[in-house]
């Protein structure tokens, strides 16, 4: 079966579907008509897409934590706590690592051991093992809309169970849940598997049920230049829209420089609208998600509050539709529910205080936006060229050729030739462009900005600079400057 960016034929979809639902016993619980009847009873105020759309119209930013534990009752308790004490606007259900690798037997062992030792032995909620009824218990036990967040290259069964289970939003994508999350899953396979997930969402949409879809924005979370994550977000938006997805939330992970971060969020929305409209997807609604700092955190909780708060402030100033919240326990591993709630409360305080600030405007911001747009367009146009107009084909070929390339990704299907580094002001630039299809004008901007930093530090730009930048936040700085 040749990969192409075309809507999956229904027969073909059903054929795959039979196989998928048979791959684990809980697959048998899914009855599509019954699921649609169930979802259609969930009112607008508890639907993810609707709440995001309203926030976008009001120009406010919603706060959403990450959270998931092994057992159903404990997971419900956790979400309720984050909703009431934490004042979360949107809720998550983070899936455990075994489920992400389709290792349901090991997930089951984790569930059993969690029951016997009385604490969660899994780093998330194993939704496939728990099945449809348990998922419905979860979403019914809270007032806010709940999204499934994971990191699964082949998420077809999880998608079936999640949607039948009443979740109204779903993270992931064929590129963003492969390249940073796997070592040797071919892109053709993950894109095709995510076409299935998107087709299912598209079918729900056809039946009048809005399901929000969110490509995973931050990728490897380490010095990813906006043009890279923007390109992938837009590729996945186009792939999803082709399958009938209507509500898209595109993401970006905080780099740390205010101007670049605001420019990134604003340009992401504008670029997405541009490409979706160009390819004829007129009725999709694009919202944005800003991820608080995804790199290493300070061990100290007060300092972690500082990092969290700066992320919240940037999200508010960029007027992102939602912000994904870190916790003061970030450096220590999986947080307690109290620490999780603390992160949300600090974030909400800032979001509320800053909701009245006007949108930033300056010459620098405009220039940064235009640069990001020019870079992203250069990549996307080259991929379209590679795919002879087919963006799915172009994506696979483009990754092979390294014209789209994610820094520090584990996948062998990623060229891994880029070298990002911060400029003097902390914005992420490129020291080595690998095979990115940038013109000399763009390259010259990067070279100049990195040279400016090199000059003030009295050293030639090199990989040592990249290393210093990666270590910087752990040392309380943004730029790994030599002074």
């Amino acid at each position: 079966m040749q990969l192409t960016n075309k809507r999956l034929e229904w027969d073909q979809f059903l054929e795959i579907r039979r196989e998928i639902l048979n791959s684990w016993p809980t697959g048998q619980e899914v009855d599509l008509e019954e699921a649609i009847a169930y979802q259609s009873k969930i009112p607008d105020n508890r639907r993810f897409a609707k709440k995001l759309e309203t926030a976008k119209q009001e120009g406010i930013t919603l706060a959403q934590p990450r959270a998931g534990v092994a057992l159903v009752n404990e997971h419900i308790e956790l979400l309720r706590y984050l909703e009431t004490e934490g004042e979360a606007d949107l809720l998550p259900t983070t899936i455990d690592s075994y489920t992400r690798q389709n290792r349901y037997n090991e997930a089951q062992a984790g569930i059993d051991e969690s029951r016997s030792v009385g604490r969660s032995m899994l780093n998330g909620f194993p939704a496939v093992n728990h099945g449809v009824v348990a998922c419905r218990q979860v979403v019914e036990s809270v007032i806010s809309p709940v999204q499934v967040r994971h990191g699964t290259p082949d998420a077809r069964l999880l998608t079936e169970i999640s949607l039948a289970g009443g979740f109204t939003a779903y993270e992931g994508g064929g590129i963003s849940y492969n390249i940073p999350y796997a070592k040797d899953v071919p892109l053709e396979r993950s894109i095709r598997d995510w076409q299935y997930a998107d087709r299912l969402v598209g079918y729900y949409e056809e039946r009048g049920i809005s399901i929000n879809r969110e490509p995973f924005g931050p990728l490897t979370g380490t010095l990813v230049p906006p043009c890279i994550s923007h390109s992938i977000a837009i590729l996945e938006a186009l792939l999803a829209a082709e399958q009938g997805v209507k509500s898209l939330t595109l993401g970006y992970g905080q780099c740390g420089n205010l101007t670049q971060d605001v420019a990134a969020i604003r340009s992401l929305e504008e670029l997405a609208d541009e490409y979706l409209s160009r390819f004829g997807y007129q009725d999709t609604v694009v919202t944005t998600v800003f991820h608080q700092w995804m790199g290493g955190f300070p061990q100290d909780e007060s300092k972690a509050f500082g990092v969290i708060s700066w992320g919240a402030a940037t999200a508010a100033l960029a007027k992102a539709t939602k912000v994904i919240v870190k916790t003061p326990h970030e450096a220590m591993g999986i947080p307690t529910k109290e620490a999780n709630a603390s992160g949300i409360k600090a974030t909400k305080q800032i979001l509320n205080m800053l909701k009245d600030q006007p949108l930033m405007q300056s010459q620098e911001l405009t220039e940064e936006k235009e640069l990001i747009k020019a870079e992203t367009r250069a990549i996307l146009e080259k991929l379209l060229e590679f795919g002879e107009g087919d963006i799915a084909v172009g994506t696979v070929r483009g990754f092979q050729a390294g014209v789209i390339d994610v820094p520090f990704a584990p996948s062998r299907y990623n060229a891994g030739k880029l070298l990002p580094a911060r400029d003097y002001y902390g914005a992420v630039r490129l020291l080595d462009f690998g095979n990115l299809p940038f013109g000399e004008d763009i390259k010259e901007i990067h070279r100049e900005k990195i040279a400016q930093r090199g000059k003030t530090e009295g050293r030639e730009p090199s990989f040592q600079m990249v290393i210093d930048d990666i270590y910087a936040i752990g040392k309380g700085m943004l730029v790994g400057k030599v002074r």
Partner: protein
Amino acid sequence: MVEEKKQLTLVLGVIGADVHAVGNRILEYAFTEAGFKVVNIGVMASQEEFINAAVETNANAILVSSLYGHGEIDCRGLREKAVEAGIGDIKLYVGGNLVVGKQDWQAVEKKFLAMGFDRAYPPGTMPQEAIDDLLMDFGFVQKC
């Protein structure tokens, strides 16, 4: 001296089910820049992959990274596998977040040396430190 260093071959990888790729890339770059021949087997590498790569490339040292806390389980028996494969005297270095939770580094280091590693590095070690140690362990005199 640059000529001599080029003869040293290092096998580099992240052991176990660990997908942390950032540090691996940093090390590959830093060791290559320093003049070593680097055979990078990447993330999610098994003990067998480390040993096979070392045998095939006639490597001088194996450098194991582990960032996700399961290093203790994943590294146990690596020296024995090297002996079985007939490269029992290869240098074994290990570094990263080697254990779950915050533990006293002296105790952790002792544990890994007892496992047959020649050197162990705590979290936050800069690549230059390992480069200096390699040069010293292989008898290259340092210029400064």
